[in-house]
Symmetry: D2
Subunit: 296 residues, 4 copies
Amino acid sequence: MEINGVEIEDTFAEGFPIKVARVLITAVTEHWALVAAREATGFGTSVIGCSAEAGIESIVGGDETPDGRPGVNIQICNMGYKNLESSLLYRLGQCVLTAPTAAAFSGMSQAEKQFDTGKKLGFFGDGYQKQEEMFGRKVWKIPLMSGDFIIEENFGAVDGIAGGNFLILAQNQAAGLMAAEAAVNAIGRVKGCITPFPGGVVASGSKVGSRYKFLKASTNTAFCTSLREDGVCTLSEDISAVFEIVINGVDKEAISASMRAGINAACRVPGVLKISAANYEGKLGSHQFPLHVVLK
Amino acid sequence: MEINGVEIEDTFAEGFPIKVARVLITAVTEHWALVAAREATGFGTSVIGCSAEAGIESIVGGDETPDGRPGVNIQICNMGYKNLESSLLYRLGQCVLTAPTAAAFSGMSQAEKQFDTGKKLGFFGDGYQKQEEMFGRKVWKIPLMSGDFIIEENFGAVDGIAGGNFLILAQNQAAGLMAAEAAVNAIGRVKGCITPFPGGVVASGSKVGSRYKFLKASTNTAFCTSLREDGVCTLSEDISAVFEIVINGVDKEAISASMRAGINAACRVPGVLKISAANYEGKLGSHQFPLHVVLK
Amino acid sequence: MEINGVEIEDTFAEGFPIKVARVLITAVTEHWALVAAREATGFGTSVIGCSAEAGIESIVGGDETPDGRPGVNIQICNMGYKNLESSLLYRLGQCVLTAPTAAAFSGMSQAEKQFDTGKKLGFFGDGYQKQEEMFGRKVWKIPLMSGDFIIEENFGAVDGIAGGNFLILAQNQAAGLMAAEAAVNAIGRVKGCITPFPGGVVASGSKVGSRYKFLKASTNTAFCTSLREDGVCTLSEDISAVFEIVINGVDKEAISASMRAGINAACRVPGVLKISAANYEGKLGSHQFPLHVVLK
Amino acid sequence: MEINGVEIEDTFAEGFPIKVARVLITAVTEHWALVAAREATGFGTSVIGCSAEAGIESIVGGDETPDGRPGVNIQICNMGYKNLESSLLYRLGQCVLTAPTAAAFSGMSQAEKQFDTGKKLGFFGDGYQKQEEMFGRKVWKIPLMSGDFIIEENFGAVDGIAGGNFLILAQNQAAGLMAAEAAVNAIGRVKGCITPFPGGVVASGSKVGSRYKFLKASTNTAFCTSLREDGVCTLSEDISAVFEIVINGVDKEAISASMRAGINAACRVPGVLKISAANYEGKLGSHQFPLHVVLK
């Protein structure tokens, strides 16, 4: 299989179940909504070492937000609902409540699982917080020095998927990175998913396990081109850099659509030689996304 | 005291001791250095609920970096060196090692306190990591799919100060926020300090303590203008919004210079009515920055 | 009439006919498409003193571009088709052909009026340019040092409208500007229109004519709050700054939709006291957009 | 000669004399100063088809601006002082006077050549403009709807140099473009110069003359890798893309320092194979910048 002359390997991406909450942050301008969203989703690449996986899903206009102001949808993901509740509490409390002119609404009002994060954060109001009905939603109004902070009482979450992915094998680092950026641009327009790594790109694709007992993941040696002389790298000679795009999303469809959009975009960048995907013989997770199926 | 017609209250900012590490992140372009820096400093506003306080200190050219590439200095701050070491390990491991083309160098080579974070992250190389001398520094070279990750072996840290601050009292929210942004612009040009909150601005200035046992900080009710009718707000009628700028830095001089630059900038924005500062009768910390002294 | 407590004056915006061409610029990444688009639309606020009026209409994904790469739709506007053809030739030749990885496609293939700008720019190929069929379009392939430049042969243009507008009357400059930015954010999501002034905002609303023979437009003295003591300013005392949003678009519907979206957004910003519009007793143009009709 | 393993060809860049004015734009925040600066320097790549060459020279803090607000230094360049005066009048009048909260100061107060652009633009005030002394400068205060526009009366200009340049020969387009971006980052930190092309990069390096009488410049065929089969391309087989960086500046030292900084930066990007420069046997201009001299 080829796209634009680039070979698509017949392999699959291996993902794993994760819990996903969507939060809609609004602010006086798109700029300030983004400021809050970036802070709230930072230090959120992988649950291996971050307290959550997080990213920006989409930017929306006032016609798609409860308060008619510009908004940014973010996703916060964690292993298990208990951890996720904690992540919501800390990330919204420390990064959105503190952000100039920001408000926070649930992006999953219909979800079965609901957390009363807004109510809990209300205690910051020191007794002056008030529950109200605004924009057809049950919210808490917390007095702040810069104005009232409006936060929805309940935030919904669903069973989602982490670790959707594909690999960009390139002639050199720059071509791989340009293609990765183009892929992230494309995925940014797909609903329901995020690319939680820095700039949406993983420079350090990993394998499950390592030679050290204390380390559960280590560099994907078979794809490290600087290990050619060590006889460890299995890549062909023309490839000198590999970037991975990791995708989290609300369901299989969102992940598949993102992979499709991202791979198609990457294959349009000169210097991209091959597309592959990362899988771990089921050691990582139960979700499989075969490239040739996803791209049909 | 007045600056540009704006009254400077005769009060002081109250800060507290914190441990500060500076990390210099370099990358192929300034853009990609910033991408890594933003991820590594995200979810890092306050140690009350974040695993660290963190922010961007400065952007530097290749003439100021070991590898001649564009760079971004970040600060990571935490209570106690043990917590700080953990923050370095997780934030560099999850957000810089994973970032496209990034490298990480110590920004405090001369500090007494040193952590071997680079050596520890080296284990990700699964035995293929190598210690080398590069650019006159002892570094670890960790093979990645996208190229080798270069990280200095040791990262230094010093006794710094958190909680340097001032308050911008404004005619309305927009004037306060514009002034806050102008202040953050100005502080961004001062060496040795960061403004860890979203966009550098605190929308939710707090007081120490609350009426709830489980909550150590709550909204600064005396400065909440929506609590006027409750008789709690002590601000004059012409003020309708207050923003706080919180500054962390390597020493008293950096904090003072930042406050001076920031206040001067804020006072140039129409609609700013008064500058004050937050203090807590010593309950928060031992460092005092009297506005009238700092501004001399 | 009121929106969110803000009075909407019962007046109308006065626009005038202009010729509009839409150009779709694609590039390897969204960033580089935006770089080309910004250069091509710069120095393009008003035909009073610029060689064209120009701006960014929308950012689109690879699924909406002929070559599957990220794209940016820009509009270039001028008085008369002859001037517009010249603007296309110079702006595309100097700012898009020269831009890294850029390609240029017509965004108005169905328009009656067509210019063979692509063919003319082909001469830059010094005889090596080639006409081809690509992506179902007739294009010219011009060899460049950095790769081939692909440009569609023909670019369409239509009779559009310039000077759609509204005025934001605010308590102070910052509130007015925040509201203007929010309005521009909202208009940026409406199809078919641009806001050609810096950041989409006009700081210097004008009236037709002046006391000087050589000057066809001058400051709108009746709205200049610093002329209160001169008895010229007709604004009420509570207003201290007025910003204008000027909108160009392909037709009445695009302008109306933009005004509606922009005004609604502006009225959500605290400190905005009134919305009005600029008109000139028909001296400027034949198109009228009554606020109360547009906002229905 | 080699830098970081990249061959530096023993050739020279050929520049030509141009007149250069520096304008310091200030605004309420750095963001709004940049908005004005970008509009004022847009459509300003080459005097071949633009009304001026223009670009951003540097961003400065309030400690380096007359009014204590954030500022951006731009350069506007043209052939002859008469054209330059016209460019100043139109670009400042249409793009800075119209920009929210902007003010404009001369960045060359000491230059022999001075234009009274501020006085001329004052007529927009329709008789209400006032000459004043502010910040130790003679300025005009022009009443605007959004507040007074402050512009210095006189703007200085000097004999500068255009066309300083170097060529980045790369393994593929992405590597060349990454290196170009890194070079532009580095040049952005050098005082006295601008890179007027889109994003600072020229995708379409040209030669003087063409086979068409009406065309004074055409694609640099000898460097077009897609013309290999035509026997026109003189580049070695390993090179597949060439980007040019064009630099304008106030004097030879600024151009030389920029070339040095830019080339050093470009040579740090993997996939860059050679650095060269563009010259035209003196047909373009009298200034020569030999790479091996500049890089000493």
